[in-house]
């Protein structure tokens, strides 16, 4: 009698275990397309036959591989970094790419105007055009530098924004940690919260390199660059700060712990913030400095020749461009026609000898020959060749940034695929699980039916 009742209980427990399996499989199946979802395995434990026997639902387990998860964080940081760099440097293609209004075309037009000026030093139109071309050359430099500077300012703003995004997620991760601990303390399932937290950690990894460490009790450390705590297991949050340096005007990233502030900009080896910083301080700054130096070299060289000559009105010692006395980056990029000759084409100096005016074109010839003279790059390259060198170095910076982005995206998609192959949902698999648990349910039902039949038989015998 008691053993028959026990069998009935086994059947009921078995049905419960099977419906637990069906519920987990259907949860999985419904989340096939949910981002960051980690598939679950229904835990069903056999019960010791000496106690009761049968099966018992024993919760569920997330199927994840810590090693793959760690690689995914690294890959996301790499992708974030290379995308930020490539996105920032794309401006170089436009600024140095030639075409109307580019420094290259303006310089060529200036060279042509110099040739005409040397052929016809006495021709007012040739002088007016030379002045205009010189002004346009200055404008082209200013436009190029201005665009690069706007890109720098924009990049700084992005860094500030990315830091804010990181901080917001750090607090969310901390909150989720608390909720997970509370939920699990009540014996409830917190796996969906864990999925959410993993998703946030990956979004932080897009921006800064992070790793996680899980303690024996399940509480998580979120570490920056392997050593510095961002979120502690107790839920403490160490925010990042984006601060604009007063001298350079550039944004740097700091982390504050216990009142001490540390500049961690250089420690962010990957993640979008590192990509932005690297693009800003690397190729973008190089291109700006290169253009500014070239503008300064042009001003110096042309002023040197021009100031030795004589204008049609006998004026001498005048500059063609405003001189760049200081080596200040902000001042240097302004290649401006000097106030000595601006609006006064007659003062442009073509002559070497004031007694040989107006046909003397010897200084104009010197100005013309500066187009091929090594006036740039420390006296090693002509202005045109130096511009071509800047185009080559900016172009290859963009090219390698793009190649790196492609490579990083490939790595990330491979690691993501690996992660999905461990943790992603396969509908076929879940359909099989559904059938399996359905079968188990039917089996348990049969057990109950058999026990019930036997019990009825027994009762009939008695009666």
């Amino acid at each position: 009698m008691s053993s028959l009742l026990r069998i009935l209980n086994v059947g009921v427990n078995g049905m419960q275990a099977a419906s637990h399996g069906i519920s987990v499989a259907s949860h999985n199946a419904s989340n096939t397309a949910t981002e960051g979802y980690t598939r679950r395995l229904a835990q069903i434990d056999p019960v010791d036959p000496r106690l009761l026997g049968g099966a018992r639902a024993a919760g569920q387990r997330r199927v994840a591989d810590q090693f793959v998860e760690r690689r995914l964080l690294g890959a996301r940081s790499y992708s974030g970094e290379s995308a930020a760099r490539a996105g920032t440097l794309a401006i170089l293609d436009t600024v140095l790419g030639g075409g109307p209004g580019s420094v290259g075309e303006a310089m060529q037009a200036f060279h042509t105007a110099l040739a005409d000026f040397a052929s016809l030093p006495n021709e007012p139109a040739a002088r007016t055009i030379l002045l205009r071309r010189a002004t346009e050359l200055g404008s082209a430099f200013q436009r190029a530098s201005g665009e690069l500077d706007a890109a720098r300012v924009d990049t700084n703003a992005r860094i500030v924004d990315e830091v804010a995004q990181v901080n917001r997620r750090l607090h969310e991760i901390s909150d989720l940690g608390t909720r997970i601990a509370e939920t699990e303390a009540l014996g409830q399932d917190a796996n969906d919260l864990r999925d959410q937290r993993d998703l946030l950690v990956r979004e932080v990894a897009d921006r800064v390199p992070v790793s996680t460490l899980t303690e024996a009790d399940g509480r998580m450390h979120l570490m920056l660059a392997g050593s510095r705590a961002l979120v502690g297991p107790d839920g403490s949050v160490h925010e990042l700060q984006a601060t604009t340096e007063p001298t350079s005007g550039e944004v740097r990233v700091y982390r504050t712990t216990a009142g001490a502030t540390e500049d961690i900009t250089g420690m962010l080896g990957s993640g979008s913030i590192a990509g932005y910083v690297d693009a800003r301080d690397g190729a973008l700054a190089d291109a700006r400095a290169g253009l500014d130096q070239l503008a300064a070299d042009i001003a110096t060289a042309y002023n040197g020749a021009h100031s030795a000559g004589f204008g049609l009105d006998g004026s001498s010692g005048l500059n063609l461009f405003e001189p760049h006395a200081s080596v200040d980056l902000a001042a240097r990029r302004n290649l401006v026609v000097s106030s000595d000759v601006a609006g006064a084409p007659m003062r442009l100096a073509a002559a070497q000898d004031p007694g040989a005016l107006p046909g003397d074109n010897r200084v104009a010839l010197q100005l013309q020959s500066l187009t091929t003279s090594p006036i740039a790059a420390g006296g090693t390259l002509s202005a045109g060749d130096q511009l071509a060198a800047l185009v080559a170095s900016a172009g290859s910076a963009v090219q390698s940034a793009n190649a790196q982005r492609e490579q990083a995206d490939l790595v990330t998609s491979q690691v993501s695929a690996l992660r999905d192959s461990v943790s992603g949902v396969s509908t076929d698999e879940e359909m099989v699980s559904l059938m399996r648990f359905q079968r188990a349910y039917e089996a348990s039902l049969k057990v109950i039916k058999v026990a019930d039949d036997m019990l009825a038989e027994l009762l009939r015998m008695r009666g």
Partner: protein
């Protein structure tokens, strides 16, 4: 390997994205005919193309200079040819007037014509091209010779750079042609001839013929010099035109797409895109879900 459903979709999406951007790039290459559209497409080629473009543009500047020089040389040569004709006419008149059959009245009439010839030669020596006096050297804003026949120009002619490293004189300064320090002064000779004719001085008339011959020789020498400049200018012109052609060819070689290659790339990219679309359209592959 375990294949979750998401893998089909992420792969298809990546494939579609990749094929679409490859197609867009191939399309742009085929449409523009440019392989290098921005420096990052091929940094080295972009830099070389830029250098070639600078060379071409410089040669274009030289070509404009050559044309300025050629125009000035033409004007100068034309003027000197007329000077030669005028001097020849003066010489004929002087030889005729020197014969014994001529009387003082006849000679006085010839003197009038010689005066006109002298004025004509001075006017030719003051020929202008594009507002500049071609025989005034650097001082091309000033008449070469004033009414007294004194040279007011500069003793040097402007040089023009007509090709890389090649310079050319814009003309010959007038004093070298008409009044060189150690040669015949055309205006003084003609003036002396006029005076001799008016004073009926046959010896003076005969003496003037030698002076005219010497001046005519100086004009011929100057025209020979101009001829040399013409040749240099023509050579320079063909040089700078070749540099421009080379520059265009070089830029094209560096940055243009091979047309056949560009279109077969485009066809290939289109096939790949269509295949990716086809695969994505049939996702997911039939599974147990479809059987139940």
């Amino acid at each position: 390997m375990r294949i979750p459903d998401s893998l089909f979709f992420t792969r298809a999406r990546a494939q579609l994205e990749g094929s679409r951007s490859a197609f867009a790039e191939a399309q742009s290459r085929a449409l523009t005919g440019k392989r290098v559209q921005k420096p990052s497409d091929d940094p080295l080629a972009a830099a070389q193309a830029q250098r070639a473009s600078f060379r071409g543009k410089r040669a274009e500047g030289h070509e404009r200079t050559v044309n300025v020089a050629l125009a000035a040389l033409h004007v100068a040569d034309d003027a000197l040819q007329h000077v030669s004709e005028a001097l020849e006419r003066a010489r004929q008149l002087a030889l005729q007037a020197a014969t014994d059959t001529q009387n003082a009245d006849n000679r006085a009439a010839v003197a009038e014509e010689i005066s006109q010839i002298r004025e004509q030669v001075r006017s030719l020596a003051n020929t202008r091209a594009g507002g500049r006096y071609v025989f005034s050297g650097y001082s091309d804003g000033t008449e070469a010779f004033d009414p007294t026949g004194a040279y007011q120009g500069h003793p040097e002619a402007a040089q023009l750079r007509v090709a890389p490293g090649v310079s050319l004189a814009m003309g010959v300064p007038g004093d070298q042609i008409f009044a060189p320090p150690a040669g015949a002064d055309a205006f003084a000779t003609l003036e002396a001839l006029e005076t001799a004719l008016r004073t009926n001085d046959v010896t003076g008339i005969r003496g003037a013929v030698d002076g005219i011959d010497a001046s005519a020789k100086q004009v011929v020498d100057a025209r020979a010099e101009l001829g040399g400049s013409f040749e240099s200018a023509e050579t320079a012109l063909s040089v700078v035109q070749r540099i421009q052609d080379q520059s265009v060819a070089e830029q094209s070689k560096l940055t243009d797409a091979d047309a056949i290659g560009a279109f077969s790339d485009l066809a290939r990219a289109q096939q790949a895109l269509e295949a990716a679309v086809q695969i994505a359209a049939n996702l997911p592959p039939a599974g147990l879900l479809e059987r139940s």
